[in-house]
């Protein structure tokens, strides 16, 4: 009996020891895995959620998914967030009351706009929203591109090639198709240019400035075949033949608007002066909030100025120089109708939307990822090689949800315009905006709640005059010194 108890006791001690060892080994294994996860590429692991939640509040994601689900304006309880909001969230709308009182607030509100009004065949949109350029293969999968092209047609928007190669299905499905002319090894044939409804020359973008992009991992086989090599380099920046490129594109397709995309910089006015002299039909300003499928963080997180500021300064410059024929496209950071309306009010003619649409596209399909732990949900929409199997996008479902997002956004834009007492999206102007913070007031030259509009306007005018004088002063001094030297000579 005593021997049996002894054996059982020894067995229990041994089992306990083995359990402790297993727990220790398990903890070590988990720690090792966690360490590995932290160091692995965020493009292909759950770590991407970390970056997503840095850029997107849970509120915006839930609202976007809600719009995609219902196709109706999204609602939520508990008020609006105020802690460290993005610049566009630091701006509010000024509701119409007795002013403006010229028309009732329940009429048919028009959202249509056109890009490149001077060109023989401007790009006409049913609402001032463009699907942001996201290239096939280097960014999105073919299925995602096809879905976005279908969405663009049913929503009255336009799809863009992005920097990736030509995808025939995308052109076939999109009623309006924008060719992004990049320095990638494709899309430069006359046929492709003539098939386009608009050409955007890509000189750089907010997330990448004007650096070259190298792609050699996880590329679809078709992409490698088209490039004729395993590694793809897409150069950015101003090509040597840039001044000849614009006339060439116009010769090949004289009907359509041709414009340029640049990253929003501190010297945006100087860039505009150069581009206006070249008679482009539109300019896309890609702000520092803009994302991409994979860009160096030192560029995407530390370069450029916010989209809202760039748009405001660009519109000011265009007004000062009476540049009315060039359309301005805002790109980067627009998450929904409120952001779009604010950018339009600051001076944009249309707004690029990218990430919000990818969220809407993938709505209802993320459950596919539950068993495959290490894969992030973006694997559903991003391009990948066949060596890395991932769930396939259900195009039909994706198109339905993204189309509903567009419908909801159009309705929300109408609601905003209705509350502002405006008839069309073109009537949106800076006078509809109020700064919620002193930062927004100073960056966007908007009145704050503390300053009544009249005082605000006068202060703005004086500040603007002083700024202009400061800009003028160096050239006056230069001219004065030149005159003096000539006089002495």
């Amino acid at each position: 009996m005593g021997t049996t108890v002894g054996i059982m006791g020894a067995g229990m001690v041994a089992a306990l020891a083995v359990s402790v060892l297993i727990i220790m080994w398990g903890a070590r294994f988990l720690a090792h895995r966690a360490e590995h996860l932290l160091g692995s590429s965020a493009r292909t692991s759950l770590m991407e959620l970390f970056y997503t939640l840095q850029a997107w509040s849970g509120r915006e994601i839930v609202l976007t998914l809600r719009r995609a689900e219902s196709g109706k304006p999204a609602e939520h309880p508990m008020g609006s967030p105020v802690a460290s909001p993005p610049l566009l969230d630091q701006v509010a709308f000024d509701p119409a009351t007795f002013l403006p009182s010229h028309s009732p607030h329940t009429r048919d509100i028009r959202l249509g706009t056109e890009i490149g009004p001077r060109s023989p065949r401007p790009l006409r949109l049913s609402l001032p929203v463009l699907i942001a350029p996201m290239g096939y293969g280097i960014g999105l999968s073919a299925d995602t591109k096809v879905a976005l092209a279908q969405v663009s047609s049913v929503a009255g928007s336009a799809a863009s090639s992005g920097e990736g190669p030509y995808l025939p299905e995308e052109r076939a499905y999109a009623q309006r198709w924008i060719l992004q002319w990049s320095k990638g090894p494709w899309n430069h044939s006359r046929a492709v240019i003539q098939l386009a409804d608009m050409v955007e020359i890509h000189l750089g973008q907010g997330a990448e400035a004007e650096i070259a992009v190298h792609k050699n991992r996880r590329l679809p086989r078709r992409l490698n075949r088209m490039a004729g090599q395993q590694s793809i380099v897409i150069h950015s920046g101003i090509p040597r033949s840039f001044t000849r490129l614009l006339p060439y594109l116009r010769r090949v397709n004289p009907q359509i608007p041709i414009g340029v995309k640049i990253p929003a910089s501190q010297h945006v006015e100087a860039d505009l002066a150069v581009l206006a002299a070249l008679s482009v039909d539109f300019i896309t300003l890609d702000g520092s909030e803009a994302g991409s499928a994979g860009s160096p963080a030192v560029i995407s997180d530390h370069f450029g100025i916010p989209t809202a500021v760039a748009v405001k300064r660009a519109r000011d410059w265009m007004n000062r120089h009476q540049v009315r024929h060039i359309s301005l496209i805002a790109s980067g950071g627009a998450k929904g109708a409120a952001d779009i309306a604010k950018l339009l009010a600051l001076g944009a003619d249309a707004v690029d939307v990218g990430s919000a649409l990818l969220f809407a596209l993938s709505h209802g399909q993320l459950a596919k990822f539950v068993p495959s732990f290490p894969q992030g949900p973006s694997a559903l929409v991003f391009a990948d090689s066949k060596a890395h199997p991932h769930p396939q996008l259900d195009i039909g479902q994706a198109v339905l949800h993204a189309s509903r997002w567009f419908e909801a956004t159009a309705q929300e834009l109408r609601v905003i315009l209705q509350a502002l007492g405006l008839d069309t999206a073109r009537d949106l102007s800076r006078s509809a905006l109020i700064a919620r913070t002193s930062q927004a007031a100073s960056l966007l030259e908007l009145p704050t709640a503390e300053h009544p509009p009249a005082t605000g306007r006068l202060t703005q005018q004086v500040a603007s005059l002083a700024q202009e004088y400061q800009r003028l002063l160096p050239s006056l001094e230069l001219q004065f010194s030149l005159l003096q030297s000539r006089h002495h000579a």
């Binding site: 049913v154 025939p168 299905e169 052109r171 499905y173 046929a191 492709v192 039909g396 198109v399």
Partner: protein
Amino acid sequence: MHKVVILGARFGGSATAYWLHNLFRRRHLDITVVDQWTMMTYRPALVTAAAAHPRLADNWHIAMQRRCEQAGQRFVRDSIFRIDPQKQQVHLASHPPLPYDTLFVATGSDPGWQTIPGLGADSGGVCEDYLARQTGDHVQRPFRSIAFAIGPLAQAPQDRPRVSGSLDLPAFEVSFLLDAWLRKQGRRSGVTMTVVTPAPVPGEAFGPKSSAFLLRELSRRHIDLITNARYARVESGAIHFADRKPLYAEKMMWVPPYHGSKLLRVSGLDDGYGWFPADQYGVHREWPNIYGVGDVSSTALPKLGHIAMMQARTAVHHFYALQRHGTPTPFRPYVLHVVWLGRGKGMLTMSNWLYGGGRELMHVGVSSALAKAAFDYGYKVFSGWMPVMP
């Protein structure tokens, strides 16, 4: 080896590829099929998706690239940009020019959305998978009125016979199917439905018996009908006409106007109105090594898949007869179509009335619907290359 290029891989192109495969030995022809889609959308089935079943739009894709490649044909996935008949080359968007000895053009007609001011794909449609899916999704939600509008057909003045509408049958089919679905949901009494057609009668290509039946059926189901429509412009919620009051409709579903082919215009191969000028064998009037098959051809009336398949048969048999010094048989068109009526019934029409003949066979019932279902599923199962081809 004789180089044959087929442009388009839908009804006409697929049937052309089938007949070339069927009549010739592999070593005699070097066949290349070009299309921008590797998957063909079987469009006749899209009416069911538009009638409140949006998910069905994605059930009707056929792997045409695989079908052709299994038969030893080459498939090029690209946009067709231009045909150079003098150099005998087809220019593609992202491939080198494709040389040919004989060319079959089966690219279909481009939708002329922009020919009516304010009209666009975002107005609603049924002729492509994404449009049918969108319409099906919209009609699932509550609404009070819907218009099923048919765009005009921009024929050349000299073309005979004359047809006013681009294709009226999908509009009638969706209206009947949706009527049945709404009744099943108990929502029909709150919805006004109107079919708008530029033709003087419904089913203009069928014949008097079928037209009379469609009129009775529309009336019985309280579906309004506007004939001889002359569109002025379209805006959200309203269709404006040149000679009558506007029609207000919360939802719309359009069969777009057909105005020929941009490819033919760019290539200088059209009849001045965007259509392929074909003789009774489908041969181009100026270029004897170019055939026109299906919707793109001025002789394909009405623009039905069945007509395209018959034209493909005629064209390839003509080509075969030339190679073998035989006597070709000219195109003898007749209309064969089943209109879905909902609740498991269909209206089958076989008629040569449009082409001056006096025959019109019409049958309404479950057997007609079964025949259509059998054809649809047969087409899908055999990827367009059925054991018995029209």
